[in-house]
């Protein structure tokens, strides 16, 4: 996968040079900055590593002049707003943002736009109209989980929902999608709901607490990613039958799934957003600088793992990390075309 991406990248570079009207020539003196609000979990670490890997290659190939990553220490809106103002002063041509808040940064983003800086937000998007948004359809993600369960469990039953961090937009969206799916399929009931904060240990604790009060026939667990393994541990400790736990692409979740699959044919699915979405945002920013016509709202594709491609994805996932893909220029162009 990685080498394939590399080859396509080289091929694009070569093709661009031959045609003489390449994207590279136009953006080779442009500088792009990444403004990132948080780095304290494995997903964000993988996101930064993907950025580093893809952009350093792009810089050494002369696609852009610089692509520097900046992370704020405290995950604070004020701090990131100040950081963006600094980046404007430092004369970056484009700023790629993973924002601490959808609205809180709008002032700084507007300032950047007024200063002629291209702003592309992804994952944590900003609502300021002058910026581009590469958003995740979290609602669809939640709905997909229930649709999968409906297919696997034609008789329906009781579900346990593990939510993320209370008060965060992503949590509300995924949960709304799950409830929409439950209403549409009409055969499930959510017997209990806890907040796992997207962390294994928190999910384990919350599930261990609520399990004793739940009915014995829980058939499925809908999750938000980063909480599946903790849920499995808690359910195992309670001695209950293992329900279908939807996973979130973390290495420990996939490993556990593989062990169960080998031992007793356990079936589930896993869905999340690849941390490499930062590289998609990079290429979109590059395309905008290149003068391409890019719609303001783009959608990130999900990275979904199923029973038959589990082994392949597990092999490609770094031990202890999260399943990932890095995006190429072509991927970005396809996403842009898809949104036209």
């Amino acid at each position: 996968m990685k080498s394939l991406l590399k080859v396509t990248l080289y091929m694009t570079t070569a093709a661009g040079m031959l045609l003489g009207q390449s994207a590279m020539a136009d953006t080779s003196d442009k500088r792009i900055a990444l403004s990132n609000n948080y780095a304290g979990n494995s997903w964000r670490q993988a996101m930064l590593r993907s950025w580093e890997k893809v952009t350093s290659e792009a810089v050494s190939n002369g696609v852009v002049a610089a692509a520097d990553a900046f992370t704020t220490a405290e995950n604070q809106v004020t701090e990131q707003a100040a950081q963006i103002q600094n980046l404007i002063l430092q004369g970056y041509d484009a700023i790629v943002i993973n924002a601490a808040s959808p609205e809180g940064l709008n002032g700084s983003v507007k300032e950047a736009c007024d200063a002629g800086v291209t702003v592309v937000s992804f994952d944590g998007i900003v609502t300021e109209p002058c910026a581009w948004r590469i958003a995740v359809d979290f609602k669809q993600m939640g709905k997909d989980e229930v649709l999968y369960l409906a297919e696997k469990l034609p008789d329906g039953g009781q579900l346990l929902e593990i939510r993320g961090l209370a008060g965060v937009f992503v949590d509300d969206e995924i949960s709304a999608g799950i409830h929409e799916g439950v209403a549409e399929t009409g055969k499930f009931e959510i017997a209990g709901s806890v907040h796992g904060n997207w962390a294994q240990d928190v999910a384990q604790k919350a599930v261990a607490g609520i399990l004793p009060s739940l009915p014995d026939d829980i058939v499925g667990v809908v999750t938000q990613g980063g909480d599946g393994y903790g849920a499995a541990q808690a359910i195992k400790a309670s001695g209950r039958d293992m329900p279908i736990i939807v996973m979130g692409n973390r290495h420990d979740e996939l490993t556990w799934w593989k062990e169960q699959k080998d031992a007793n044919g356990y079936e589930t699915m896993s869905v999340s957003i690849a941390p490499g979405v930062s590289t998609l945002a990079f290429w979109v920013a590059q395309q905008i600088l290149d003068g391409a016509d890019v719609p303001k709202d783009l959608t990130v594709p999900f990275l979904r793992i199923d029973q038959d491609n589990l082994e392949e994805n597990l092999a490609n996932t770094e031990a202890g990390g999260v399943a990932n893909v890095e995006y190429s220029l072509e991927d970005a162009q396809e996403v842009i075309k898809g949104a036209m």
């Binding site: 670490q45 008060g167 294994q200 384990q204 009060s213 990390g321």
Partner: protein
């Protein structure tokens, strides 16, 4: 009668009463179903709170301004380094434990050096040092989860007759803490410093030596907790300590220790830890939404603190 009066005046009583009330409320709601399992889970997760809260209690008791905010970062660093060094090998378990404790002691030494040598207030010193420890943890393993050795994971999740082994272990730790606080010169010194640092100094208490020992002990316990928690939850994660920052302080205060220092007790730590876990479990069981749950958690914590301090005012 005087026995009852003395009991009511105990500052740790309210946390235990609170824990009992929320547990009974949950049991009534579910018709008694699974109450034993809930209690068993509360003992397991409460044990982790007690470990860090024990250290935090000694620090807070040193008096106004004394608090250790580097606990989450210290837990993460100790857990990460220990898990990576053991790399799943059971033979390395003692080495991993030693590393976690040494890292904790190192963190505490650095914290105290910042406070003493550079004269930085403890809140600022421990908050800023926590950035260094968190970054060190990120640098050490880039957020990758390394699985704990099988034997260690089994130890942290084992139960004897429904009682988690780790809870028994922490009960022993708490008893040691209680003896340390009430029966040793060191413990009495901590309380004396919290009541009046100058008076303690004039009375011959070795103030700085005791403060140093307290910060080092607090961080060492955080390192131990990081080690055990990482083993329990299947590996160290960069955000594993996050909820232990406020919880460690909340447990100390709800447990009846004076937030202004100079007045502490250990039994309250266990009561408060069980109370906090059971409270969230109760609200989850009632199916309360996140907003309602957070508001109720806040109100109930305030209620318990007011009840506890009201009890004290009567004395």
């Amino acid at each position: 009668m005087t026995g009852v009066a003395t009991l009511i005046r105990q500052p740790w009583l309210w946390a235990w009463v609170g824990a009992l009330v929320v547990w009974l409320a949950t049991a009534v709601f579910t018709g008694g179903k699974g109450s034993g399992e809930v209690l068993s889970a509360a003992m397991t997760f409460g044990a982790f709170f007690v470990i860090v809260a024990l250290g935090q209690m000694f620090v807070i008791t040193l008096g106004p301004g004394n608090v250790d905010l580097s606990i989450p970062a210290c837990m993460t660093l100790a857990g990460t380094v220990a898990m990576k060094s053991m790399d799943g090998a059971s033979a390395m378990i003692p080495v991993g434990l030693l590393l976690a404790l040494v890292i904790g002691a190192g963190v505490g030494t650095l914290n105290y050096s910042l406070i003493r040598l550079l004269r930085i207030p403890p809140i600022i010193a421990t908050l800023s040092s926590s950035f260094i420890f968190q970054s060190a943890a990120i640098w050490w393993n880039r957020g990758l989860r390394v699985k704990p050795p099988e034997a260690l994971a089994d130890f942290t999740t084992a139960k004897i007759a429904g009682v988690p082994v780790i809870a028994l272990f922490v009960v022993v730790l708490a008893i040691l803490g209680h003896v340390l606080l009430t029966r040793t010169i060191y413990g009495r010194g901590v309380v004396a410093i919290g009541q009046n640092m100058r008076a303690a100094h004039l009375a011959g208490v070795k103030v700085e030596r005791i403060r140093a020992a307290t910060y080092i002990m607090c961080a060492t316990l955080a390192g131990l907790c990081g080690y055990l928690l990482a083993a329990f939850s299947g590996g160290a994660a960069l955000n594993m300590g996050e909820e232990y920052l406020l919880s460690s302080i909340a447990v100390v205060v709800i447990g009846g220790t004076s937030v202004a220092g100079g007045f502490a007790n250990v039994p309250g730590l266990w009561g408060a830890s069980l109370f906090l876990f059971l409270l969230v479990t109760m609200l989850n069981t009632f199916g309360a939404g996140a907003g309602v749950r957070l508001v109720l958690t806040g109100l109930i914590i305030i209620g318990v603190i007011v009840a506890a301090s009201g009890g004290k005012a009567r004395t």
